[in-house]
């Protein structure tokens, strides 16, 4: 039995005390504003803390005939804890970390920011209309050994792995902990079933399915879904300034026409259909084929904010039917 308990107050005072070091995602804040301090620093998405919307990599100047290039070093202080929902945590641990923190070629900026941060996952008491985490291997109680896990339970917080990481002193109550575990297990049974086991392979075979055209039709190819998606990690390198300037590392989106534009002006993804297909394929086929986890955590953010109600869950379910046919 792993879990112990802490009082709301213990967590609240701990966060108060560490205030400057604790960052919370907007979604977690919205969900738990009644239990957690209200003035914590918030971020819109969990990823932006490590994968900055923009950052300067180099500063360059032409001095006489030589280019002088300096690396941009950050010296801003950095938080130590990030409070977030299970899906957001899974997105960091099993998608963006996997992408950026590879052994041979880590993304230095990401790694530097990510390394010192402990994730504090707060499980979901309520499942939103837009959530579909159980389809993609996540759950409202998703935990990870490297992170702290909290769950509000009958006036207390159920706590896992928080003893050393946050130096809290929890109390034990094996009976109550058992009740929590049972609750988790029972709730998970009621959630929709995961996607079929070999869906990534099957989807891959449907690259040329005419259904894509039909599905992509009403997407306007903005970047709202990818920019606010906790797992989307595409970026662009560009320069700003001719004789003096900066090399920029900025978010990019496969929805944009320039994303795959070649210097020859050929674009292998000329229309919305190819771009939408890329977005779905990457998350549900290419990424899982290579890294065993889905590239989507089912958080439902994109469903909620899409201006034209283009719905990835519906599309994926449509594709499941199509590949099983």
């Amino acid at each position: 039995m792993k879990g112990k308990f802490v009082t709301h107050e213990q967590v609240f005072t701990w966060m108060e005390r560490e205030r400057g070091l604790v960052v919370i995602t907007e979604r977690a804040q919205k969900k738990y504003h009644h239990l957690l301090p209200s003035h914590l620093i918030t971020v819109k998405t969990a990823k932006e803390l490590f994968f900055s919307p923009w950052e300067a990599v180099y500063r360059y100047t032409l001095q006489g005939k030589t280019w002088v290039i300096e690396e941009k070093v950050e010296h801003s202080s950095f938080p130590s804890f990030l409070v977030l929902l299970p899906c957001e945590a899974k997105a960091i641990l099993e998608v963006t970390d996997v992408n950026f923190m590879t052994e041979d070629t880590p993304d230095l900026g990401y790694a530097r920011r990510r390394r010192g941060v402990t994730l504090i996952i707060v499980g979901c008491e309520r499942i939103e209309q837009t959530c579909f985490c159980s389809l993609v291997g996540c759950s409202p109680f998703w935990r990870h050994r490297e992170s702290v896990f909290l769950f509000p339970w009958k006036g207390h917080f159920y706590l896992e792995d928080g003893e050393e990481k946050l130096s809290l002193s929890p109390f034990e109550d094996p009976q109550k902990a058992q009740a929590v575990e049972t609750f988790f297990a029972e709730t998970i049974c009621t959630l929709p079933l995961p996607l079929p086991a070999n869906f990534p392979e099957k989807l891959y075979a449907h690259f040329d399915d005419p259904l894509w055209q039909k599905m992509a039709w009403h997407c306007v190819n903005c970047g709202a879904c990818t920019y606010l998606c906790p797992t989307c990690y595409c970026f662009d390198l560009s320069v700003d300034g001719k004789l003096r300037g900066l090399t920029l590392h900025t978010w990019d989106s496969c929805m944009f026409p320039k994303f795959t534009l070649h210097a020859s002006s050929h674009n292998p993804r000329p229309t919305g259909k190819e771009r939408v297909r890329q977005r779905v394929m990457h998350k549900f086929s290419y990424f899982p084929l290579r890294n065993k986890y889905y590239g989507c955590v089912g958080c439902g953010v994109c469903r909620e904010i899409c201006p034209v109600n283009w719905d990835i869950k519906e599309v994926v379910e449509g594709m499941v039917r199509q590949v099983e046919r």
Partner: protein, 146 residues
């Protein structure tokens, strides 16, 4: 730190080739004094100025922008400045609406024979921009360049 009284504004002046640019030339030839803060960009007609040029000038660090063309009725291309005037009006009002000081962006009609007026305009523009100080909140304060 730049000391404030040592600070001199940088002003980009888009001048029409047929009038204000010649007016600036005349001011020079006639040895009429005006502040050295302006960087002149010659354009074929005020009508050739895309409002984005003006925004870009601010973005690249101008503290103020002056646009100067031929008097209404005198445009070398007959009506370039009439069309331009509408765009300029909208841009100027839009910037003010967005909370950017009106002194940042100024306009004038200066003919080729108005060397004196040209120097006065520059004086007024520089004075106006000096009064409001460096473009901190304008478009200039782009995080990378400061």
């Amino acid at each position: 730190m730049v000391e404030l009284n040592a600070w001199e504004p940088k002003i980009v002046a888009f001048l029409c080739h047929w009038c204000s640019y010649a007016g600036a030339d005349l001011a020079g030839v006639s040895r009429i004094q005006y502040p050295p803060n302006i960087r002149i960009i010659r354009v074929p007609c005020s009508g050739a100025i895309n409002p984005l040029y003006i925004l870009k000038a601010f973005r690249e660090g101008a503290d103020g922008v002056l646009v100067s063309g031929c008097h209404p009725g005198d445009c070398h291309y007959l009506s370039g400045n009439y069309f331009a005037r509408r765009k300029f009006f909208l841009l100027k009002e839009l910037l003010i609406f967005a909370g950017i000081e009106e002194e940042r962006l100024q306009f004038s009609w200066v003919s080729a024979s108005e060397g004196q007026k040209f120097s006065q305009v520059i004086e007024q523009v520089v004075e106006g921009v000096k009064k409001i100080g460096p473009s901190k909140k304008g478009l200039k304060e782009f995080a990378f360049h400061v």
